[in-house]
Structure formats: structure tokens, C-alpha cells
């Protein structure tokens, strides 16, 4: 059984940044395991720009952004294995993986970082009724065909869901010669970024139909159309509002799910809200020595946020290997009143340096509202926000000084307040 200080599962933006960070903290024995045939993860198919505004202060494409980290990994001499699928991880931090060169790899690590990313919610999980014909793709699968393989999944397209990949694909498919008829969203608001709605739909006159869903799918061999309908406040289709749209392609952009099958094998406790692991201030899961970052933890809006979070995870995994961290009293972080979840869910103030960013998302759109942070029952922060939407990740910075002020505090509550 080969031993490493740190094994990172996943060579996408999260895994790469965590590896670079741990290496910079002096950890030399690192192995990245990547199931695809190249490093970079999903960024490799995100050929649009807009990545890196925070991290590099410039606009990069997905492959450019990931290449910066791939170059660093190679410069720093960090070991990685491609086409390598992790089959098992356990609480003793043993990892079983497979590839065709090494066969079965049996490895052990002092620390593990889970960075497996997320997957798209498929049609089956939505139970959309209708035919099981060809021509129905998740937006990400279509993106891979178009952007990596240069092949079109169809000519006349309807998009269900207004997640960012769906919006991006509306523009991409249009530019590549398809006719995108509409983007249909069940909720009264989009789950994507505002800038994507403007740049990918509005600029191409693609209608965004809110509070609308697909109630039937038609076609025998290949898709020939969908029936859409408006929904009421309970998201039930409104009779009489049905409309048939002829199309040969349906793209689904209806949510991303953190991919935690391996976390489950290692008995890592998962959040019921995000589906990702519950973590403390060091990005450590419920299993000591197993850390996590990126979309496997919670789905991010911007890759820049993944990078920041993964640097933290990499540094903390390094500190854990070196044994330099504090144990002791922790403060619970509670998400309520419109805030769906927080990362982390517990904080030991002795491990946060000068402060910590607590990240979260809201469940619905709030205009002119406040983000409030309570230390026990005292409202310490009251931040005015013009708008809060589910599509964008929010964060609050809690400084060491505030923790010192409330040294007896046992719980921090974060919520949305009208005033």
C-alpha cells in the first residue's frame, strides 16, 4: 500500500487549487487522482469568458483559467494520475482507485481532500412525463458535444431551467447555428447569474418564460416537440395555459447535485440541504483528516470562489498533516430566515487567523433586505442588500475581533431580515 501525505480526489479547479495551496505550505507528498483524461475538470468545456475577474483581475475562458493552475501543479512537481477512478475511500484514509496502467491502486494518506465536483440533475429525477426519445440532454452534456467535440446535439432547441449552464448553452447553440426557441423556468425567478440572462438570452432575443414548465414531451425516435404550461403559486400547471413548441432538442438545466458517493463510503456526514459534506472552519468534514472544497461541498456561482475556498482547504489539510491546529470550543453556525445553508456549520475561533468568510445562499429573491448575523441573541451585523437571489452565493466576513468580543458565544445565526 503506497502512502502519501495528501491525496486529492478530483483534478478540477478545486482539487488543483487545494494541491497548489498544500504544496506552498510545504507538503511534498501529494497525489491528485483525476478520472478524466486531462486536468481542469468541467472548466475544459466552458470555453466562454468571464472566469478569473476576482482571482486574476482579468477575464479568462474556462480552459485558460484552469491552465494557470495546471501549469502551477506541473511547475511545483505535484504528482497526478489521469484516467483514474477512485472506487473506495474509508475512514482510515485508505483509497482504492483504478486505471489501465496501474490496475488497482491501494493507497493511504495522512489527509484527503474530496474535490469530486457535482453532476447535473437528470430528467428522471424531475419525473417530467412524456416520451423517452432521443434529443433530450442535460445542458452540460450538450456543452461537451458542442465545445469539445464540435458536434451539434440538435437544431431547434428548448431549454428547461435557467441555471447558468443552460443560459450559456442558449447562446452557444445559437452561435453554432441552432434556433433556440425559449428558456422555460418553473420558478418566478432565474437560478442563474444576472449577467448570463442579459448576455445569453436578452442579447439574442431568446424569451425567458418564468413560472412555466414542461408538462409533456413528444416524439417517437427523436424529439419532435414539448408542451409547456404556466404554473400557479404552488408550481402546479394552470389549465388552459398549455402551449406546444416544436423542437428536436430539449436541454435540461435544472440544478446541480454535489457528487458525494465517495464521501458516503467514507462515512462523511452530509448536509440535507446541499447534499455536500458538513464542514468546520478548516473545511474539515465529520471525519478527521478528510477535507473538502469546491462544488462537491456546495454548488458555487463563480470559480473564483471555488479557488479561494480550495486554497483554504489545502492550507488546512497541510496544517493537519503537520499537526498545527487547535482543538477545543466550537461555535455553531445556524442558517435560518431565508438563508438555506452556511459553509461552514461550526467554527473554532482559534483556527481562523484574522477572520473567516461564511458562505451561503438564500432560498428566494429578496429586494431591499438585510443580512443579519446574531452572536447568540445579539445582532452584531446588519448588512443592507439591494437584492439577494438564489443564483448568487453570498458571504459575510466574521473577524477574529468579533469572536473575541463574544468569547462566550455558542451559536451564530445568519438570516435575511426585512428591516
Amino acid at each position: 500500500m503506497q502512502e502519501y501525505d495528501l491525496i486529492i480526489i478530483g483534478g478540477g479547479p478545486a482539487g488543483l487549487a487545494a494541491a497548489v495551496s498544500a504544496k506552498e505550505q510545504g507538503i511534498d507528498s501529494i497525489l491528485i487522482l483525476e478520472r478524466d483524461n486531462q486536468l481542469g475538470g468541467i472548466l475544459n468545456q466552458c470555453i466562454h469568458n468571464g472566469f478569473g475577474l476576482h482571482t486574476f483581475k482579468e477575464e479568462l475562458t474556462g480552459p485558460e483559467y484552469s491552465q494557470r493552475f495546471i501549469d502551477k501543479v506541473i511547475d511545483l512537481g505535484i504528482e497526478y494520475k489521469l484516467n483514474t477512478m477512485v472506487l473506495d475511500v474509508n475512514e482510515d484514509k485508505q483509497v482504492t482507485a483504478v486505471n489501465s496502467d496501474d490496475g488497482i491502486l491501494e493507497l493511504k494518506a495522512k489527509a484527503i481532500i474530496l474535490a469530486m465536483g457535482c453532476r447535473e440533475r437528470p430528467r428522471g429525477a424531475l419525473n417530467i412525463p412524456g416520451a423517452r426519445c432521443a434529443g433530450i440532454y442535460t445542458a452540460g452534456t450538450a456543452q461537451k458535444y458542442v465545445n469539445v467535440e464540435g458536434l451539434m446535439p440538435g437544431k431547434v432547441v428548448v431549454i428547461l431551467g435557467s441555471g447558468d449552464i443552460g443560459l450559456i448553452m442558449a447562446r452557444r447553440m445559437t452561435l453554432e447555428g441552432a434556433n433556440v426557441k425559449a428558456c422555460v423556468e418553473l420558478m418566478p425567478h432565474s437560478s442563474g447569474l444576472k449577467r448570463n440572462i442579459v448576455q445569453c438570452l436578452d442579447d439574442f432575443n431568446i424569451p425567458l418564460k418564468l413560472s412555466t414548465t414542461i408538462i409533456n414531451i413528444h416524439g417517437h425516435d427523436r424529439l419532435c416537440g414539448v408542451t409547456i404550461a404556466q404554473v400557479d403559486d404552488n408550481r402546479k400547471p394552470i389549465k388552459g395555459s398549455e402551449e406546444y413548441i416544436a423542437c428536436d432538442t430539449l436541454l435540461l438545466s435544472v440544478g446541480l447535485l454535489p457528487e458525494n458517493e465517495l464521501s458516503r463510503k467514507a462515512n462523511v456526514k452530509l448536509s440535507k440541504v446541499t447534499g455536500g459534506p458538513l464542514v468546520d472552519e478548516r473545511m474539515q468534514t465529520s471525519i478527521p483528516g478528510i477535507f473538502t472544497c469546491g462544488n462537491v461541498l456546495h454548488v458555487h456561482d463563480l470559480v473564483d470562489n471555488v479557488t479561494t475556498e480550495s486554497y483554504t482547504a489545502g492550507k488546512n489539510a497541510a496544517d493537519s498533516i503537520k499537526g498545527i491546529y487547535k482543538t477545543g470550543k466550537t461555535v455553531e453556525v445556524i442558517a435560518t430566515g431565508g438563508v438555506r445553508y452556511t459553509v461552514p456549520t461550526t467554527i473554532n475561533p482559534e483556527n481562523i487567523g484574522n477572520g473567516i468568510d461564511v458562505r451561503f445562499r438564500v432560498g428566494e429573491v429578496h429586494k431591499a433586505a438585510y443580512i443579519s448575523v446574531y452572536f447568540d441573541d445579539t445582532r452584531e451585523m446588519h448588512l443592507k442588500k439591494k437584492i439577494l437571489t438564489p443564483g448568487e452565493m453570498e458571504s459575510v466576513k466574521l473577524t477574529k475581533a468579533v469572536f473575541d468580543k463574544y468569547s462566550d458565544c455558542t451559536k451564530i445565526t445568519i438570516k435575511v431580515e426585512k428591516e
Binding site: 496501474d102 490496475g103 453532476r119 428522471g124 423517452r132 426519445c133 417517437h220 425516435d221
Partner: protein, 479 residues
Amino acid sequence: MYDVTIVGAGVIGCSIARELSKYNLNTCVIERSSDVASGTTKANSAIVHAGHDAKPGSMKGKLNAKGNAMFMDLSKELDFPFKRNGSLVLCFHKENMIDLNHLLKQGEENGVPDLVILSGDQVREMEPNVTDNCVGALYAPTGGIVCPYEMTIALAENANNNGVEFKFETEVKNIEKSSDHYVIKTNKDDIETKMIINAAGLFSGDINNMVSKNKINITPRRGEYVLFDRTIGDLIKKTIFQLPTKLGKGVLVTPTVDGNLLIGPNAIDLDDKSNLDTTREGIDDIVLKAQMSIQMPFPMNMVITSFSGNRSASDTDDFIIEEAKGAKNFINVAGIASPGLSSAPSIATMVVDIVTEKLVPNKNLNFNPIRKGIRKFREMSNEQRKEIIKEIPEYGTVVCRCETVTEGEIIDSIRRPLGARTLDGVKLRTRAGMGRCQSGFCSTRIVDILSKELNIPRTEVTKSGGNSILLTGKNKQSL
């Protein structure tokens, strides 16, 4: 000239084909789809019924328990998944216990072994997640679960290996009677044959009506199902039926041989035989009914997919297995609705008895009963995995991450006899794409492999034959 032509490559047609391959007969199977198991066989409850439901004396009553008893040997010879997990028919009201007794008597008359009536508490001891409302149940230890399409693929491969020819995408247009044989007109070549076995499932009425004055009417009866993730596959271990009442037949809850949990079906009569749509109302209805059997609420966030299948319901509500009136040497195997899958092995021997009586063939001395399935990486120990990767390096590349299917298995599924030609063909043979992501990640890879193995461009790869193309052209081609 063929001795025997079987119309339909479902579980019935393929069972008969394999049974016929034990004789020196020139046999052919024709199928309108691009693959075996494309109709009712692909989407059903996947249950091997014990045999207590059918009326004694009916075809169903005679053949079900007999077929059930043949499954263990067959699954071993042909290497397909079958498990005798036992079944329970739940009773929810004391006053219906008498009906449970009636079912037991009926089962015994049909030759079902070891039936026993359990109290509600005994049931919950056996299956702790069964509802507290259950007052008793009929327990049938011989009830089983099977993978119907893997079984059919196995039967077809073995039949093919023993000399049976298969013609796909071959649709019967008409059948002409000659002096001592039939000429089957198809969308391709004419087929001359001494005998015809009509195992055309939903279309068996249409095929019969081409030659016989005694018309058969088959109604497609849709059944919808909901499939749950493996995470809750062990909610129950046995197949849980509900005692039929005035209000309906009830809905079953069962583990599948692949470890998922399946609930369904409802029963809706349709006009269109190829309509496999699922409906919101149908899905809601089966979830509501299935919930009656189980104490805890079904975790709807664990649903992987829903699907529907159409059973071939005959007007007599029984199997029709006989020579068609006024059509010598034309044998109907029609109206094979439930328990058709369970009866498939005994239906096959019954049909072969008819054929051998007519044609008096010699035994095929070269018949090899053994068929080996695709070696499944996910079921191997790490030692076995190391061995096979040394031998076949493609077994080291995982293509379908949800179901852990390797490139080696996918290549085997394409290269073996009657191999996969489509994305669905690969899926049925290997499970690639059947997991929780529903092929989101692996479909691009599988299209690549199919394109390479079949030596066709990726734009010609289909989901399931016909016009079900996946890719419409290159980028910017239509600008």
C-alpha cells in the same frame, strides 16, 4: 427455406429460439426493432411470480409455476441475474383474510410449493418496513426477481451461438401462404419458412390476422413504474404485492436484481401500441398506492427515473398458445401479459413440443447450453480486477461512473454475438447510463466507442435504432 421463423425477439421469441436450437432445425428470428428485448420485455415488473394469481386450469395457471421452477437452472446455464427473494401478498383488512386463503388454495391447485399465511407481526418480523396496517400476508418462498432484458439477451446469444439466425429492423408487412410453406413479406427480403411462431407481443394480433380468419385483438395495457436509487434498495427484501380488492389490483414494491427499488405498475388501456409516455397522474397514483404497503414515506428525492411498459392483453385474459385456426403450421404465442416473463421457459418447451411433433427433427448434438455473460467489473474482488486489467487493459478505464462500468465491458457488449449497435443496446447489456446521472457523463464516451467499434461516424450513432440519432451534424453546419 427456414424450418421455423419466429416473429419477435422478446423474452418469449428468444426463449423459444433457444429451446429450438436444441434441435437440428434451420431457425430464424425476425424483429422490427434494432435489438432484442425492445418491447414489453424491456419495461415490466421484472418479477418471476410464484403462480398463485392465475385461475386453475387456465394456460396461465398451468404454465406459471412450471416456468418459475425452471429459472434457477436456466439462469446458471445462461449467466443472467435471477434471485429467489420470495414474495408477500399483503392484506390490510381482517375481513379480506378469507381472500388470502382463497389465493393460497388457488396457488396450491396451480402447483405452487410451500405457500403459507403469515400474521401481520410475522410479516413485519420478516420485513420491518412493511406498514403497521398489514394484518396478514400470503408468503410464497418461490417468488423471484430477474433482469428480463439480460435474460433475453442471454437467451438470444445462446440461441445464436447454437445456430439460430437473427434479422433485426425487419418488419413483417404481410404473410402469404404457399402450398407447403409461408412467404413472409418484410420491409427487407422475403422469408420462406415451413413454420411460423407468432411471438410478436403487442403486434401478435396483427400478425395472426394476416393468416387466420379467427381474429385476435391485443390491447396495449400501459403500466407505469418509478425506479429509486440503490441507496434505498434494501428498504425491503421480498417482493411486496397487495391483495387485489374491488378497488383494484394494487401496486407492488420490489427490490430489483441490480439492487434498486421499483414500484408500480398501474394499468391503463391504450390505443397506440408504441405509446410509452409516462404521465404525471399515473406516477402520482402508483406512489400513493405503493405507499400503502410501506410504513415510512418514500424518499422522492431518491427517484432515478420513471418509465412505462405496455402489456399485451388478450380479450380472453389468458395466453393464446396454439396453431391458428385455418393456418396450418402457424403457431400463435399471443396475449402474453403477466405472468408471461415467469412462464417464458415453460411456454418455450410447450411451443417446442408442438414444433417437434410436426417437423420431427433430430437433436442438435452440438448444442452448448452454456453462455457466459459480460464480466462485470463492479461485481469483482480487487484481486479479480487486477487479473482482468492485466489481460484486458480496457477493464481499467471506468466509463460509467455511477454504475462502475468499464470500457472493457462496453467493448465486449458490442463485439459479442448479437452485440449492441446503439446507446440503449450498450445500456441494456452493461448498465452504462442507468445510474443516478442517467448517462449525462458517459453518453459522449459511449458514442465514441460505438462509432469506433462499428466504424460509423458519430452522427450515425442512434439511441435505439431508426431515426433516434443523437447528433445532428457539425457546429455551424446549418449557419
